[in-house]
Symmetry: C2
Subunit: 523 residues, 2 copies
């Protein structure tokens, strides 16, 4: 497989040590996508464009350039399109960089999205392509108050006990509203508000926290029942709220649980998904421009020349080395991969290619004999969260009530994902089942088979997504904003929408605009 | 049509003057449903049971009794089954109590659920029947941070401006977290927490409110962008947060907006729905026991007799008055209707039938030429909320990206619904379009046709659902918990799950258990 590149060593040293993506989201550093309708005039007159990579950026670029009569070829190293849109189904095979091989043994019809799985409702570029390509969209249940939180290793009466998300949310709303109402009462806060306006804030707090007449939080039916209400003589018995201290002791006020992802702009409801698997979006493009894609073409060298660019690649099927020349080249290859490809880029570009950090990320799909999370726990979609290495359990939000199901038993980032990725698939399975059993004791009884991915070890990706620190954004990012002669850069890493499909689309559209403008100018 | 009953006058006087259902939810008085698996032994040996009403309670009772070899007949006054499960589609006709006639002119395939539209994920009795009858379930988007709040009639710079729900939610989390952190700093609160634990609360508040390093709320990208981030050189410009004072002045801290329905146990995500219309749940039952239903049978008298019960009804098709006798009768007729039917019930039952209040509620479905709320506003499902009479705008959460759509332009309760219901359908349409235009100015351009319901004026329902005050629960409710001789009462009004399908199911199951136990005892 690929040799370790210079970049590979650098990034080991500089890579974020924690959950970079989560932290970014918590800080609201990952932003959102505007609508860009592309209605370019004029004609490319058969100018040749070589596109490297058949991920979302490459496919969208080929699609848009095709509309303008450019002659495009897409070189794709894999035997499938889509890049980090990848839906794992029965028969999916993958060999990771260090040689671990897996074949998916799920039942027919079972799947999980190993890469992109959800679309923010404001990522209009994605929605626009779905509309244009006839790809349907449905709601993706990113939140579920019935899913669990599980804090491992805390103290006190709630230590190592799973709780429903509704419980923590209701209790913290209650306690903080009570405390703030008390501070208001004691005039402890010097606020530029009239007495009447203060009264309105207190009224709000009473509603927000579900406080009683004495403005105390004494629990609330919002957090659920010990005995559920029913018909006839069963009014139900609300569950008692734990003390604030016990929530603190158990660890539920730590960032693992308080950095609520669904607060971020990107993960707010409504989130959307492509029914049947995100790869159906890829199929939408392939129907339009599939003939332009050459599969099994592993790029070996990218060279700026006098009249354009020459790309040398290994035709993996025949074993032959081939070369193609074109007027322009759009390079969408992920930076950790590009770093290992010979090139004569400018030194600014080379430095950026080598030094922009990428995130580690793992996903482990688990097929179970029955949907015990629905049948036993009443969990329909959404995500359970924990401070264990598995970080998240993502439940399927389609096929409710059906017999079997695949859930994502681990979705983690950063150093946690690095550790998990360094295990063999069999060891990962073991660890994920052991940790997941703390939340769902049914795992042992119901488990059938797994398929795991450590994206940092997946050939031709070698990472989850670009993670720009403010410094990296300032120092390296600008190198991608201008073409390096005939070579343009596109992909999520050339956007402020890193990690999202929209970043790939927006950058592809911007690249097509730039090339077209240049061609129309005749420069 | 029906003459005004005694009950009708009483309820005019006692009916809750506000949004009873909302208020109940805010107070968490409307509870949730447990799993009840019914696995009764023994045989009814052809004992005859007369079931009054083919709503959910009647259908479930007939279905369960059929399993046990009882001989059931269901008398249904309407020409359709389902009761308050009612999906309005092209050709749906209705004549309200005071003679207003409507025929639905939506396009084929367009519909809205005039009655039950959503199922809490913990209403296991509903999920159990869906599973058993092969009725699929999907997620119902009850919440959408991208939907609007619109406060009419406030003061200040935000007065009469719609805002996205994400804005108010992010701002109030920010301001309250800032204030509470400040109170902590000033040691204004005497808390039984160690210094270390206090620090954890502050850390939580910083995350919860998206506070800056100085623990101040200065806005957050969570609330969205003025210029959206994109590819290349567009990092985006976050929108500025308004001052707390301006939110107060505009009215956004009032109960219309702070009594967040999705906080309640019943309306928390995940909510579920039946794809294609809730009436597909009705169809599931009808496939099993449809032959037992007599339609167009308007009950005129219910009489306890020596050996059982005799029910006299008008066969609306022939105009003939008919009578049926049975060993037992299960009466699921809504109380406002039952109050007008001759009977020889006990005085306790009669009093309860006359005096338990029901809620007014209106829904107005609007078909539009295009889904501008998706195309222009990026709203996929969820509910916009306002203090205007329309109260809610409910967006469809299926068929995203399709051409046309039907949204529910008004869903209100209590006195607001009474006022709207007193208008003619044409006047309701006019009012709903005028008020809705304040949130969606596209209404005027895109509107095609409407269908409106005031449930208090719908024959054979005459109200939305039972609304028990604590007093009504204590004084009247117990009358329904025991049979009145051979007559049993079932329906949402005989449960602590009023207004929900689960209330109907749970009460039906309890009734079947009671009858079967009595038959097995031979009493």
């Amino acid at each position: 497989m690929k040799p370790l590149t210079r970049r590979h060593f650098i990034e080991r040293a500089t890579r974020l040590t924690g959950s970079g993506y989560s932290a970014m989201m918590a800080l609201n550093l990952i932003p959102a996508s505007p609508a860009r309708t592309l209605s370019l005039q004029g004609n490319g007159n058969g100018k040749r464009v070589l596109i490297l990579g058949a991920g979302m950026a490459g496919l969208a670029a080929a699609y848009e350039l095709g509309k303008l009569d450019y002659e495009c070829t897409v070189l794709e190293a894999r035997n499938r399109p889509g890049g980090r849109i990848w839906t794992v189904r029965r028969g999916t095979r993958e060999t990771e960089l260090e040689g671990d091989e897996q074949t998916c043994r799920f039942d027919e019809g079972q799947y999980f999205n190993a890469g992109a799985m959800r679309i923010p409702h404001h990522h209009e570029s994605v929605i626009r392509y779905c509309r244009e390509l006839g790809v349907p969209l449905e709601s993706f249940n990113n939140t579920n108050e019935g899913a669990y939180y599980y804090s491992d290793g805390g103290r006190g009466p709630l230590a190592n006990k799973r709780i429903r998300q509704r419980e923590l949310h209701s209790d913290m709303r209650g306690y903080t509203a009570e405390l703030l109402a008390k501070a208001f009462d004691q005039s402890a806060l010097d606020l530029p508000l009239s007495a009447e306006d203060k009264e309105k804030v207190i009224e709000y707090l009473v509603a927000e926290g579900s406080l009683d007449a004495g403005r105390r939080y004494k629990g609330t039916a919002r957090r659920g029942y010990r005995v559920a209400p029913s018909a006839y003589d069963q009014p139900g018995t609300p569950a008692e709220a734990p003390a604030l201290l016990h929530l603190i002791e158990a660890g539920y006020l730590s960032p693992h649980f308080s950095n609520v992802p669904e607060y971020t702009y990107e993960q707010q409801t409504t989130m959307l998904m492509v029914p049947g698997g995100t790869d159906r979006l890829t199929e939408g493009f392939v129907k339009k421009i599939g003939k332009k894609i050459t599969y099994g073409a592993e790029v070996k060298e990218i060279k700026k020349t006098e009249g354009g660019a020459t790309v040398t690649y290994l035709d993996k099927k025949s074993g032959a080395t081939k070369a193609l020349t074109a007027d322009f080249c759009i390079c969408t290859i992920p930076l950790p991969v590009l770093s290992g490809i010979a090139n004569n880029f400018s030194s600014d570009v080379q430095r950026a290619v080598d030094l922009v950090p990428y995130n580690n990320t793992c996903k482990v799909g688990l097929q179970f004999k029955r949907r015990f999370w629905e049948e036993d726990d009443g969990i329909y979609g959404g995500i359970s969260r924990t401070n264990l290495d598995i970080t998240q359990v993502v439940y399927p939000c389609s096929g409710y009530l059906s017999a079997k199901g695949v859930l994502i038993g681990c979705y983690n980032y950063g150093s946690t994902a690095e550790r998990l990725g360094n295990l063999s698939p069999a060891e990962r399975e073991k660890l994920v089942l052991a940790q997941g059993s703390k939340i769902h004791p049914q795992y042992g009884q119901e488990f059938e088979s797994s398929f795991s991915l450590a994206w940092q070890k997946i050939p031709y990706s070698q990472g989850g997504w670009a993670v720009y620190s403010p410094e990296a954004r300032q120092r390296y990012y600008p190198a991608f904003l201008q073409p390096d002669g005939p070579v343009y850069f596109a992909g999520e890493h050339t956007s402020y929408l890193t990690a999202w499909i929209a970043g790939a689309f927006e950058s592809a559209v911007r690249t097509v605009e730039s090339i077209h403008e240049r061609v129309q100018r005749g420069s």
